[in-house]
Symmetry: C2
Subunit: 563 residues, 2 copies
Amino acid sequence: MAAEVTAQQLIAKHRPTLDQALQTIRTRAYWSPHPEHPKAYGEDGSLSLPEGKAAFDALQGTRFELDQPGTDDWVGGEVSPYGPELGITYPHPDIDTLLPAMRAGMRAWRDAGAETRAVVCLEILARISARTHEFAHAVMHTSGQAFMMAFQAGGPHAQDRGLEAVAYAFAEQTRTPDTADWNKPQGKRDPLAMTKRFTPVGRGVSLLIGCNTFPTWNGYPGLFASLATGNPVLVKPHPRAVLPLALTVRIARDVLTEAGFDANLVCLAAERRDEGIAKTLATRPEIKIIDYTGSSEFGDWLEANARQAQVYTEKAGVNTVVVESTDDYKGMLANLAFSLSLYSGQMCTTPQNLLIPRDGIRTDAGAKSYDEVVSDLAASVSGLLGDDARANGILGALVNPDVKARLDAASGLGEVALSSKEITNPDFPDAVVRTPVIVKLDGAKPDAEAAYLSECFGPVSFAVAVDSAADAVRLLGRTVRAKGAMTVGAYTTSEEVAAAVEETCLEECAQLSLNLTGGVYVNQTAAFSDFHGSGGNPAANAALCDGAFVANRFRVVEIRKDA
Amino acid sequence: MAAEVTAQQLIAKHRPTLDQALQTIRTRAYWSPHPEHPKAYGEDGSLSLPEGKAAFDALQGTRFELDQPGTDDWVGGEVSPYGPELGITYPHPDIDTLLPAMRAGMRAWRDAGAETRAVVCLEILARISARTHEFAHAVMHTSGQAFMMAFQAGGPHAQDRGLEAVAYAFAEQTRTPDTADWNKPQGKRDPLAMTKRFTPVGRGVSLLIGCNTFPTWNGYPGLFASLATGNPVLVKPHPRAVLPLALTVRIARDVLTEAGFDANLVCLAAERRDEGIAKTLATRPEIKIIDYTGSSEFGDWLEANARQAQVYTEKAGVNTVVVESTDDYKGMLANLAFSLSLYSGQMCTTPQNLLIPRDGIRTDAGAKSYDEVVSDLAASVSGLLGDDARANGILGALVNPDVKARLDAASGLGEVALSSKEITNPDFPDAVVRTPVIVKLDGAKPDAEAAYLSECFGPVSFAVAVDSAADAVRLLGRTVRAKGAMTVGAYTTSEEVAAAVEETCLEECAQLSLNLTGGVYVNQTAAFSDFHGSGGNPAANAALCDGAFVANRFRVVEIRKDA
């Protein structure tokens, strides 16, 4: 099959972007090639907001054709957290047919080399970028994110994380040259001389197990890291969030085909309700790599049972913010209020436990008692979400009934400092929209531990009264060690306390945001600069993105001969 | 404690060497800072051959003091494969005392940073290099290697592999800068500005499980990769080969102390006979990294059970050479004869199965039948080892009675093409020295499979008659897939056959040496240039040395704040 687009054309088009990404992962300065503003789209072949909406609408109630081998059924059932059923059905695979077919294109993909693989991945990302507004709606109506967040986190930010993974994968594969001449002196005799050729080879089929809340943002790093290192990728989306990854698979297949490669290097594995296909796939001998985001229970199962594969997991944790003192009380409250509210606390990075000394804290607005801090924070959240339109824009919708159940139960865990309120979404009357609850707990009471030492995923935070800053630091360390954490925050004007928190984060391997009072939030990380997770505490065994995330997805085969 | 030597002094001394190593792992040209000739030692504070021998002699019959915490016994029992008992006893650890003590120095070691850790490691290697002649005797009298091999492989080549690991570790840790300024434009508003600090942190105590045959060569990569990335290293030597690693631990402790660090960052765990301390240590929660060389059985056990640790294994495989045709028959025979004989075939890289078409092969000396090839190879081995002094210098001694038992049993597996002979070592009359056996097997006979599809570690090779070149390539692929391989060799003048062998090695992830007829042998790899193992077939889950070998031994903790 003749390629419609050559590797040389793709290199000419994308190499500057790749080079900029390679430079940025070394400097970790700000950079992104993917515009964050909705109005930046609509020209040069990209979809405008209404075009994206129309494309999304046109998909509803249809069969999502992918032309994959071994399709034995059509499955669906996605219901938007905003109410509507999507009515889309996807191909269900006979995996005994699909998995062998996915290996067929591996050799040509390997022989294409690291640079061609990278620019093909960049072309896929560019096509995804052009359809960002379609993805925004797809992400919104599967995750329950509000539109702006679905647009940004599901669009440019996810694409950034994918590009970052491609850059790491390319850098890793090109650490070793393609060829080498080796000449070893032998005194007066002729030197020993050899020529050597080094080829990065993929490990086998890579399985991406997608999540409900961030199907693209959490899915793209593993997908692109594996594809760029020579592995076919089988995408198993969360059954409630198939569409964003199905769109991704379709675009990847189109680009692969146009570039002369086998479309089956990227396939979709949609599943029947309660089929649990991930468990079946994860232990298949063809599957050599697994990327997973989701519950600790299944993540731990994968790590223990998918022994034939490299397993990269992002699981659950308990995120802590130490509130000890601040020189910007208002800024701190505003920053925390937004962190707790964004996407109804349904981020793996949302703070859960706020550790506040029971004797209160020092601030630029004077001393504040524990009760004052908690009530001021509650007021700040209430103020932020006081306007229903703004509240809807920040909160989005609850992604599933489990979150609502946990939210409802939370008020029974302690004294409620801020009750959850129901918000109406005029555009989507069936959406379940709730403001966060803040519950007071006493860290000294053993019966409170069960609450604050468990992850309560959703819009639930605990204001935990602690004896002192030192007590807070101890509890922080204990929490990360036992439960893991994707993020840690701290507010303190004391160098001593800051040093103690920093040392605990270094010791327990947790990512720390210190004294955030402006427009950056503890729950947000920027690709190319911030690591998402550390890979060194129980919340995740990998970080997005670093050398360890890509280095073992391929191996280097050396062929040497006498020169 | 004031350091006797400062980081700045060590940087001034070793940074040029580190830089050269960093450059060489990128070019993969020849380089080594460690002289390969015995006479290169004896000046500038290094031990000459007689001084090294004297130092080794002085150790015998003594207690090997290390001043480690938690020593509860003194254990020993090493007997040289050349006969003499070493009579050395080593500290046996109470691991409940030793493991916590090893963590005490981690923080200062972390805070020292990647460059200081690297140059401290290079100082350790430089001190080891200066005592190369002492190590040569220690390796010889624990592994059974002949002196020259013990000197080279146990000395400079092992030191090269250690330095290579330090270079990879340093490169990996410094991919991310120490600090970054991040400024994100916000249109007309002020940009978002943050400062970020990135710190590589070790995972915890690293366990090195040493092997009998190459205690330093196989031990140094893991030891130095872990130490350079901030982890304390507990060295558990093979009970028959303690001394080379005990010397290493002593030197490491001396250097750490002199540089102002805690000596307990490197400790020894010697064990009582049949204690099996490796199994106990491997599942301790403090152990976060394990490096292992040895049997597949225990390697597989570690991978399955040491779930709290990153596990890097080099296990057993079945190495194959395809003999299809050659334009240098004499060179091929000489090269193969040496490969089969070196260290009595007791290398994980020694060829075991020679696949030869039953219809014979084309050569520059005319067509040769299968029988002729086998008998010519047998004659070549006999010629190489015809002189007892030279034979002793190549063969060394059998490392343990199991090897001799396998050798004795091998002649019952098929028609013997070359019998093993006993060689007397006049210097060490108790040494068990044997020439290799070559056994003919028919690849078409199912009952031969049990022999050639199992690893028969030691001086045993099988000349397997195959139907054709294509049959040989198929069997090669099947062998690597099922049993793994550290090395593959092939002799062919056919581009088609070469391409088929290369494709099989790429497909099955095996390192290939093609048409070696000179002074480089399939069983030898050079640090900085050749990968040892691929990490992609059952013989090993890691390669020496690449990014994957170091990248997950540490994590990066980020601390960010508003600028």
